[in-house]
Symmetry: D2
């Protein structure tokens, strides 16, 4: 079974910040897709904000098993129509992996029902990511922790709903903690938020991060037919009730 993954990149910092372009000449999305494609069971392609329909046409989403999302400076430039389209596919069973600053994307806020707020600091400080849920599919092959020497800090409280499971918690040099790996389900769709990934640091070149991303794609993939019923509110006529009942409504 191959998992079709689409890595969506905002692709703005890569254009307007030379340091980011140097770090990610293929874009963060390109780097992430390459890391996913290192696994023969994943077939990853990319899409960006600048493409028509942001690269996320109805037909493309229909064949997407898992969508990975990185956005930051242009959240508001994402068309509401595309956001709704993605959300509908998540409800139908498409997996969704929200990366780093996607905590403030329209997608995250709409699917979580929370504002996604947190505190932050850019000091290229050390982040140590602890696995608090050993043997969770997303933590496969990791040790007890792994370290990103240079990362942005995100601090609690993180305005996100209580998750199904907490997979990772980060320690930061400057004194904060953060729930860095959280899972939820919305409709039939599995959702994973993964904290690291500031654009000015080499996070998406890290081998442990690659493992997490590949694991998460496989975890998020639901290989069943789309759950289109999620959009419907079926009326069950009295004479089609599963148990025999009579209509006892008053006749006004």
């Amino acid at each position: 079974m191959t998992t079709n993954a689409v890595v969506w990149g905002e692709n703005v910092h890569e254009q307007n910040k030379p340091g980011v372009r140097e770090l990610y000449p293929d874009g963060m999305h390109g780097t992430i897709a390459a890391a996913l494609n290192a696994d023969p069971a994943i077939r990853a392609t990319t899409a960006t904000l600048q493409e028509p329909e942001h690269g996320l046409t109805e037909s493309r989403l229909a064949s997407t098993d898992v969508l990975i999302w990185w956005g930051h400076t242009a959240h508001n430039a994402v068309a509401d129509e595309i956001v709704e389209r993605v959300i509908k596919r998540v409800w139908e069973g498409m997996g969704l992996i929200l990366l780093h600053s996607a905590h403030f994307s329209k997608l995250f806020k709409r699917l979580m029902g929370t504002p996604g707020t947190l505190s932050y600091r850019e000091a290229a400080e050390r982040e140590r990511i602890w696995v608090v849920n050993p043997r969770h599919r997303i933590a496969e092959g990791l040790g007890e922790y792994f370290t990103l020497e240079h990362e942005e800090m995100y601090g609690e409280p993180f305005a996100a709903p209580e998750p199904l499971e907490t997979v990772f918690i980060s320690w930061f040099s400057g004194g904060e903690v953060f729930r860095s790996g959280l899972t939820w389900r919305r409709g039939a769709g599995n959702i994973f938020y993964f904290r690291p990934g500031h654009e000015t640091y080499p996070t998406y070149h890290d081998q442990m991060v690659h493992k997490v991303l590949r694991n998460a794609v496989k975890w998020a993939h639901t290989p069943q037919i789309a759950y289109s019923r999620v959009h419907q509110v079926p009326h069950v006529p009295v004479d089609m009730a599963l148990e025999p009942i009579v209509d006892r409504n008053p006749k006004f």
Copy 2:
């Protein structure tokens, strides 16, 4: 400690369906508010769709501890601005109780991140509501179950997120089940969905339903100052970090 509750009613069926007006001459909102006011620790007032700002001004919401919401036929007539205003207050800690057809309200869908779909049937059939979480605050004073002889059926699957806790599950004569009492938290706000309450049945005159509503109001009330921090994304400067760190960012 008194809990300030506002019962919001769409107040449309009460106007255009004679049977509903007869059943609820004070409106469903009025009946519910009276049931809440039977408890000296609750001070309940009402608000309706037809009032300016739907009766939910900034100042009124600021002094509301718990909002109860009933809507059905006019979900789309609720102004987006008011929906966002209510949501912000929920995040700050205002309790929210969503009744019956509110599963399809803008409020429910925005706070849950799911479509709120389900199946339904209007046959005035028997609903037996089982307490699956005995001694939960919301189930205080109930027995193992209570019965509503005439109700609309709502059937699973209910497209709602996995709750913090399931309090009630309903059995219907026609053969369906439904998770009739579910709790969530969004930001600092406690949220409770309570299934019963179709407009053409006397549900809101039922003594057990009254108990549930009073219990839920007390459960949802968070008597702490508003959590306004939930709207902010504070930047922590390097030199104000809690632990001494240096800025290691590359200087582009």
Copy 3:
């Protein structure tokens, strides 16, 4: 990847109730194992109470990916030593599927920390099992519900911890409901409780039940190395701390 499943049967009713023996000439465990083996990705064998060490030696459990457990009348005959042995393997990552009257087994009570109580009735009544978590791995290939025409009733409240996810809820002819499919994790082990399966009814010959069992085995299987660290409380010496710290303990 093949999943090694062991179906453990108490195997008492099959010996002392002629009706059960006639219904399950190979034992319920044998019938279940055969249903699992219909899937080429599962290799199921059986074990019973009467075997030495109840058929669950250290070495056998070490190579077991998922254990399925059916017990009823002889819960107390299961040796505490074997119960502890199974629990240790669950913590290390072995999947566990607890069937029907296993709600009252030592295993269930020890792993849940609750008494597992419920109400019951044997009337060969209709049970309709609703899928409340569509596209969950355990519900794959099922429709919105399936029916067991003759089953024992189990009624709420079920004294079990709030689950990670509720997968199934049952409707009974006599008026009760029950959370029939619940998931938990304990240590690295996935646990699923599945309600149906009274010994005097043909439940384990049902094709839908077979699907659930096969799905559950695959869902519960964690194909990673045993999490033996779960048994340890490692001391981290000060001079091996990940960040440089000094011992500030008072020297008494």
Copy 4:
């Protein structure tokens, strides 16, 4: 409404470690009880391992609303009979607050179904406790974090079940993190685990810790009658079913 709290102390280190006796001349249990009694709505008393029945007679537990538990070096000296007695009361609705090294008590392991393992280090290092669930009842009156300058480190992974809610997460100087405040329900009983409290440090003299303890006691208290039904498995005869059914059992 007054909450009857019993603070149970192992009371061994206070006897055999001079430094501990000096720090806690009234015992840790005495210090904690005094902190609770500073709130007029709480009436706290103490019990210790050395008393007959460890100070936890049937009648005393019957009138206890919330039990606070500190144990460390003598977990195995706690009689199984008393452990079972306490657990039964938790299931009936008595609140339970497990402190620090109680993660390895019989009580914790029995109620959680997990081994409670973690890593540790005694270096009197800094612990910063972050509130990740603002406005949770247990976090009332705290800021975004509070600091204990000298504490033992406990590190993840913590072998405990996924909680209902995570309230606190700790940051340690030496590089670890820990989920320091977790809630669960078992039967009708609310359970809270609170990490800090090593015997050689002045943690239980800390004003913020006092607040947490008082909050937790109030949160854990369920002012409803004991849920004794939790111990029973009632049989519902066919002719007493809530809906008319006939016995369709085969007559062997």
